[in-house]
């Protein structure tokens, strides 16, 4: 058993009278892809923030490995239109990155040669990949993605997560992500955590998708998720017959 990159023990986070996270025990090992799913307001983003160190827990503790390098891809980055910013300059924030490393990071993220472009002129998909490139520049042990595909269409999101899997196998970094694209994300994960203030259930994507709590939380969507998941992994061609053609690619 390796030492986990991050470990949370009985973590609770409260905002006033509102308990967002309640006794969460969680750890992420080097090299694994973990996805956190849960309804809106279930504390997913709070959990990620606690990992980054952006939140002081009300109880419990968060332990980070010594010298842990975190690459963070935020949910949304709104660049004020008054702020001029080239991709190259953005990648050097806050620490200067050499041209060679900048080029390499953009290649890895799947958007080569964008250095001189203005951030504001990028498409949604390019923008998210530039954010990914920036996160990869620190050579992270742990890559954290908070709803990183929120603005992308489904093929765009699927391509983005394929890229994440490739990055993981190239660099060996662990990945912790939150997403609404349940089926796409679950099929790319080693482990899924179903969160609703506390951890409802966790395990392999299949175990979670079949868990009654998960079905209760996601209702109708569950059928589709399960169907497509099986489509990817079991080639069960009957289960997804009610899906739209674009889902069943």
């Amino acid at each position: 058993m390796t030492t986990p990159l991050v470990r949370m023990e009985r973590l609770s986070v409260r905002y006033g009278a509102n308990t967002v996270l309640d006794h969460v025990d969680f750890a992420i090992e080097p090299g694994e892809i973990v996805t956190v799913v849960g309804p809106n307001g279930s504390g997913k983003s709070t959990l990620l923030r606690a990992v980054i160190g952006g939140i002081t827990p009300s109880a419990g503790r968060v332990t980070r490995g010594a010298g842990l390098r975190i690459g963070y891809v935020p949910q949304k980055l709104v660049l004020d239109s008054t702020l001029p910013m080239t991709v190259g300059r953005f990648l050097s924030l806050p620490r200067r990155a050499s041209d060679a490393r900048t080029r390499d990071a953009l290649d890895r993220a799947g958007v080569p040669g964008l250095q001189a472009r203005q951030m504001a002129a990028l498409s949604g998909g390019q923008f998210q990949r530039v954010l990914l490139a920036r996160a990869l520049l620190v050579q992270p042990d742990l890559l954290i993605l908070d709803e990183a595909t929120a603005g992308l269409d489904q093929p765009g999101a699927a391509a983005f997560y394929r890229r994440i899997e490739e990055v993981r196998s190239e660099t060996g970094c662990a990945v912790l992500m939150v997403s609404h694209d349940l089926h796409v994300v679950m099929s790319a994960s080693d482990r899924v955590i179903c969160l609703n203030g506390h951890i409802c259930c966790e395990g392999t994507p299949q175990v979670v998708a079949e868990a009654p709590v998960y079905r209760a939380l996601f209702g109708e969507g569950t059928q589709g998720t399960l169907a497509l998941y099986q489509h990817h992994h079991d080639h069960d061609h009957e289960a997804h017959s009610h899906k739209t053609p674009e889902d069943a690619h």
């Binding site: 975190i70 004020d80 953005f90």
Partner: protein, 259 residues
């Protein structure tokens, strides 16, 4: 005349780079609140026989701290800042009227009185300007990252609250420095107009800050000359020059976008 020119250029140097952050972070109202509160600081200084600079910095900091504390307590930011800015100004004006013992030229504090700048004032202006420029240059990358996204900053080991504090302190110093030159009512103009004017010509944050600083310095000098020529109040004349620059820049930007 030389002193006045140096005072104007020094204020421009302090205000313009910081003004870029005020624009990027949409803090224009915050700047207004801090600046308007300074008139209360002026009254306090005169009552206690302190240097005006000291009172203005202290009250500007108190104002900034009050706004930061009250943020997120039920009022929208612009409402809160509107309340604070105008109340501070009103209380400041009333406080000044209580100081019956001293004869005060209120207009000098509201709109500046650059021609009465003393050697000591000049030293304070340039000292303050250098402190602000050094502070902003030192924290530049961290400030930019925190401006983009607080969580992005945290993941890079930057505390966004600390960077906010750096900006607040710098803003308080700029306000105190600029009172003599443009007065409390027009300080925000020297912060945001050069930055907004520089925007169409810049491709990176750094070039925007440099262009804004150069434009602000030219405006300070040009405004001073014009005020001599036309016998107009200097502070407002400087702001008129910078506003004219903004108009030209916007026109240029509009033509370029259309073409």
């Amino acid at each position: 005349m030389t002193r006045a020119a140096l005072a104007g250029v020094g204020t421009a140097l302090a205000a313009a780079p910081l003004g870029c952050f005020v624009v990027w972070r949409r803090m224009a109202y915050f700047g207004d609140a801090t600046a308007h509160a300074a008139i209360l600081g002026v009254a306090l200084s005169l009552a206690l026989s302190l240097p005006v600079f000291v009172g203005a910095v202290i009250i500007a900091l108190v104002m900034a701290a009050a706004v930061t504390l009250l943020t997120g307590r039920g009022y929208a930011m612009d409402t809160l800042l509107g309340v604070m800015a105008h109340s501070a100004l009103a209380f400041g004006l009333v406080a000044v009227s209580f100081l019956s013992g001293v004869r005060i030229d209120l207009m000098a504090y509201l709109f500046g009185d650059i021609l009465s700048v003393s050697r000591i004032d000049l030293a304070v202006i340039w000292g303050g300007a250098l402190v602000v420029v050094a502070l902003v240059a030192w924290r530049w990358s961290a400030l930019l990252t925190a401006t983009l996204n607080p969580d992005l900053a945290r993941a890079s080991g930057i505390a966004p609250q600390r960077e906010q504090l750096v900006l607040t302190v710098a803003l308080a110093v700029v306000v105190a420095v600029a009172i003599k030159v443009v007065g409390v009512l027009l300080i925000t103009a020297m912060l945001i107009i050069p930055a907004a004017t520089a925007r169409p010509f810049a491709r990176t944050p750094e070039t925007m800050a440099i262009i804004a600083t150069i434009l602000a310095m030219i405006a300070a000098w040009g405004g001073l000359q014009a005020s001599y020529q036309f016998d107009t109040p200097t502070g407002p004349t400087i702001v008129c020059v910078v506003a004219a620059m903004f108009a030209v820049s916007s026109l240029f930007d509009g033509v370029r976008r259309a073409g």
